[in-house]
């Protein structure tokens, strides 16, 4: 092909065809991709499908809420340095990418017929479906917490929004000398260091305003799941005498009215009680029959995030079964691998056989001090997993510099997924 013809092709916005000396498929990506879920994973997937897939794709984002509330930084609402409104956005920044937004509830996913059904009964057919539903709570072991009324008394606040505001209000109303108890489920759950960041934020608030109070941490895990040394040191040095940590303490029952939680060993009476329930893949992934691991998480091909059991259904974010942290950065990294793979598949090409990405996750231990865990992950073709590369690790100590980085991590993330 002559160079001027090649440039004309580029100018016309067509997919890159042949490059001198390099054979390539000339076809542009065509087809309809539906994305269910407009959180970090789903919004990033929709945007990057357009950036990388070109104008030939029809992209539909189905999200029940008209606002996006960031879980990252939402523990700072409990500490008092953020308000929920600081973390709440609309989706209008995605309109420039010609993404059709449908704010509706998905009521069925028919993977065999390649269509979804939304409330009202309308069907939408797809060529590829991305399900990014986040987490669903599993109340099998704590049925008394399932109702909205019970959650008024004992919020989980593990999806940022009204429950975060409720938990903050309960802390503000608590007497000095009161007990805040938090129950942490067995891993895996959304945001491995999140519960311990929450403890730090509540400690930050109580130390200033209610210093006679106490925090009891009932952790179902045998030890702190993430950044253990850093959290242990921060609690001892910054909040001495305030935090009492009890490992191997699974919540087995809750007295909702009394705000009392029962473990296998003891009953703990609290003034403010925060039970984070066990979790599983979000409902839309369950509807697609994709939650095949213990009926809980979704097994995927890490080259494309296509479900191992539901063809043409891709699962990204917290619902994925993997030894990977369920973090917002991880969700966006998976979204980008998935979007890139779908563009290749719709062109009749194979996905990149060697995906590599990074994950950085910050935790705040006060209003200003933060610390990180960071790793590069690379596809291991023998094990067919994303494996952490050597060289990753955690901060030496919490610092104000990292606090500032963490604030800008969030702003860059919001820009990257919503703008």
């Amino acid at each position: 092909m002559l160079r001027r013809e090649f440039l004309k092709l580029l100018g016309a916005g067509a997919a890159i065809g042949t490059f001198p000396g390099v054979a390539r498929a000339a076809s542009a990506a065509q087809g309809r991709v539906i994305v269910i879920g407009g959180g970090y994973a789903g919004a990033a997937a929709a945007k990057y499908l357009r950036l990388w897939g070109g104008a030939g794709l029809e992209i539909i984002l189905v999200e029940r809420n008209t606002t996006f509330v960031s879980c990252p930084l939402s523990n700072l609402v409990l500490g008092g340095s953020k308000r929920i409104g600081d973390l709440t956005f609309n989706f209008s920044g995605l309109d420039r990418y010609d993404i059709k937004r449908l704010h509706a509830e998905v009521t069925a996913v028919d993977a065999a017929q390649r269509k979804i059904v939304v409330d009202g009964g309308d069907d939408l057919a797809y060529d590829r479906l991305i399900i990014a539903p986040g987490i669903d709570f599993n109340y099998d072991s704590l049925p008394m917490l399932e109702s909205a009324q019970a959650q008024q008394n004992i919020p989980h606040a593990w999806k940022a929004g009204p429950q975060t505001v409720n938990l903050r209000a309960q802390l503000e109303a608590m007497r000095d000398g009161g007990v805040f108890a938090i129950s942490i489920p067995k891993a895996p759950y959304r945001c491995p260091p999140g519960p311990y960041e929450r403890v730090s934020q509540v400690a930050f608030y109580l130390k200033q305003h209610k210093p006679k109070s106490k925090i009891i941490v009932l952790d179902a895990n045998p030890e702190i799941v993430s950044k253990k040394g850093l959290f242990t040191k921060a609690w001892a040095e910054m909040y001495p005498g305030l935090v009492e940590y009890r490992p191997n303490s699974t919540a087995v029952a809750v007295d909702v009215a009394a705000r009392s939680v029962q473990t296998e060993f003891e009953a703990v009476q609290a003034d403010v009680l925060n039970v984070i329930p066990p979790q599983r893949a979000g409902k839309a992934a369950q509807m697609a029959g994709a939650a095949n691991i213990d009926q809980r998480w979704c097994e995927v091909d890490f080259l494309s995030y296509e479900s191992k059991v539901s063809p043409r259904v891709h699962i990204i974010g917290d619902s994925v079964a993997a030894a990977l942290p369920k973090s917002a950065h991880m969700a966006t990294s998976q979204a980008k691998v998935c979007a890139n793979a779908i563009v290749s598949l719709l062109r009749g090409e194979s996905p990149d056989p060697q995906p590599v990405f990074a994950n950085t996750c910050y935790s705040f231990v006060s209003d200003k001090l933060a610390m990180h865990v960071a790793h590069v992950y690379r596809y291991d073709a023998a094990k067919k997993i994303m494996a952490p590369a050597d060289g990753g690790g955690v901060s030496d100590k919490p610092s104000e510099q990292e606090g500032n980085y963490a604030q800008y991590w969030a702003r860059n993330m919001w820009s990257d997924v919503l703008n």
């Binding site: 709440t88 990149d352 060697q354 690790g393 919001w414 990257d416």
Partner: protein, 114 residues
């Protein structure tokens, strides 16, 4: 060795535009580069608080990443990423980011007090 591989990369870069060469390998590098967006913004156009990578000179990028790897340049976070990447990935990322146009990254406005 370091200089040699850098020269080899630069010689290759004269033959193919970096953005095109990344598209040749199934988008491998653009996906890796996009995972830097969490801190450095879409296409390396940070909204502030972290360095802008878009349009950064590729030799400068490579030298900084090598300094993070060796500890010659101290860092809070970047050494954890630089040590996890291969020299080849660092070179390709340098090419990718140097080819990205600079723009002012903007964060969406929060909806305010709720």
């Amino acid at each position: 060795m370091r200089v040699k591989s850098l020269n080899a990369w630069l010689a290759l870069a004269c033959l193919a535009l970096p953005a095109l060469s990344s598209a040749e390998s199934g988008g491998h590098i653009r996906v890796l580069a996009a995972s830097c967006a969490a801190c450095h913004g879409t296409d390396g156009n940070s909204v502030g608080g972290t360095p802008v990578l878009a349009g950064l000179d590729r030799t400068h990028f490579i030298l900084q990443m090598q300094a993070f790897r060796s500890g010659e340049r101290s860092s809070t976070v970047m050494h954890h990423h630089a040590k996890g990447l291969t020299p080849d990935e660092i070179e390709q990322l340098a090419g990718y980011f140097s080819a990205q146009p600079r723009s002012i990254g903007t964060s969406p406005l929060p909806l305010g007090a709720l």
